[in-house]
């Protein structure tokens, strides 16, 4: 076999292998990205958003800062104890909460949605514009353990910002709207 022929044969062999390798990488990347979007971090107490939503407690009752500030914030132990000093006090999980309350310690909740530190996001203007919590956080009221439902990357932000009224798009797609 000539040198050129051997080279052609090896290319014929290598090409499917390379394609298969590439496909495996793509599938792995997709699976990994989905996993980060859907995994719920371990919490100190197995708090159920569903139970609270079914009791018709509004998101803003426990996360009121979303209305007026950058961060929605975690409710204080005082907010939990406000109800749970009288409600379901015999349950083991509630007693753990009350333990934190009596010791005067904060509950070390783990944040679920994390923004990169070079992104300056504020909840307040989004709520003022009528964006509902579930638009970005998913239907948390149906989740037991809250988890991140979307990868909050810039493309995802821009998808929404670009659909706003024409007069607002220039301001909303300016880099300085989110990066400072």
């Amino acid at each position: 076999m000539s040198g050129a022929g051997r080279r052609r044969a090896s290319i014929r062999l290598m090409l499917p292998l390379a394609l298969a390798g590439g496909a495996v990488l793509v599938v792995a990347a997709i699976l990994l990205s989905q996993r980060t979007a859907e995994s719920a971090p371990a919490q100190p107490i197995a708090f159920s958003h569903r139970t609270h939503a079914e009791a018709e407690i509004q998101c803003l009752f426990c996360h009121p800062n979303a209305l007026r500030s950058d961060v929605a914030g975690m409710p204080s132990v005082e907010r939990c104890a406000g109800c749970h000093r009288t409600i379901a006090t015999t349950r083991r999980r509630i007693q753990t909460v009350l333990g934190y309350w009596e010791r005067g310690e904060p509950i070390p909740w783990q944040p679920i949605n994390k923004m990169a530190d070079f992104v300056f996001f504020s909840h307040q203007p989004h709520l003022a514009a009528g964006v509902g919590c579930e638009t970005c956080h998913g239907d948390v009221g149906k989740m037991n353990a809250a988890r991140q439902v979307v990868n909050m990357d810039m493309g995802w932000c821009l998808n929404c910002h670009l659909k706003q009224p024409e007069t607002a798009v220039a301001r909303l797609t300016d880099c300085l709207a989110c990066h400072k």
Partner: protein, 246 residues
Amino acid sequence: MAKVAKPSAESAATGTSRRWAMVVDLDRCTGCQACVVACHAENNIPIVGEEQAGYGRWMHWIIIQRYWEGEYPNVKARFMPVMCQQCTQAPCEPVCPVFATYHSPEGLNAQIYNRCIGTRYCGNACPYKVRTFNWFRPEFPEPLPEQLNPDVSVRSRGIIEKCTFCVQRIRRAELDAAATGLTLADGEIQPACVQTCPPSALFFGDLNDPDSRVSQLARSHRSFRLLEDLGTGPAVIYLKGGETNV
């Protein structure tokens, strides 16, 4: 020297009504460096130390230029604070290969830190030499990390940074105004340097509003801009000193 501030054509084209500008009254500046300190605190600017500063690697976003006038013993010191001039035709913008620096609709030369790859083309193109480069990973000795401004990125090694007219304060004021349904009055937005200047030598406002303080001062017969013949159209307007100086 009479100069009339005209609304910039670019802001008319993009439909926004603002052109942020700063006025520096050189008669009032005492060279006290309070603006430099305020700027460092507000914008998370690292201190590089004496040795690196000797190499010209200081990171100040405002530099107080000092000029001596006259012969000893009749010597006068003149001070001129120089920060990013937020040019209308900025030489730094077209040279950036990754669009990390660009012209915002309000006429600011924006620098997007997480997009910057550190070619330093912009710093070399700038005729005012006001862009600084992070040669090393910035270090904030204790207890300075406790007072970092959460509204401003903490920059990393290998990127260019510069004065932003405290865009985080502009945005915060705009958001607060929108939330409360109020309109912003002239002078309500103050960059850290303007807020802290003891003799009130600095003014900040909208050049497109003919009644704003900066527009009125820009019409003064004392007004001039740095390296005007380059055609960069700076948004920092200086008021010539020496008339009331004693």
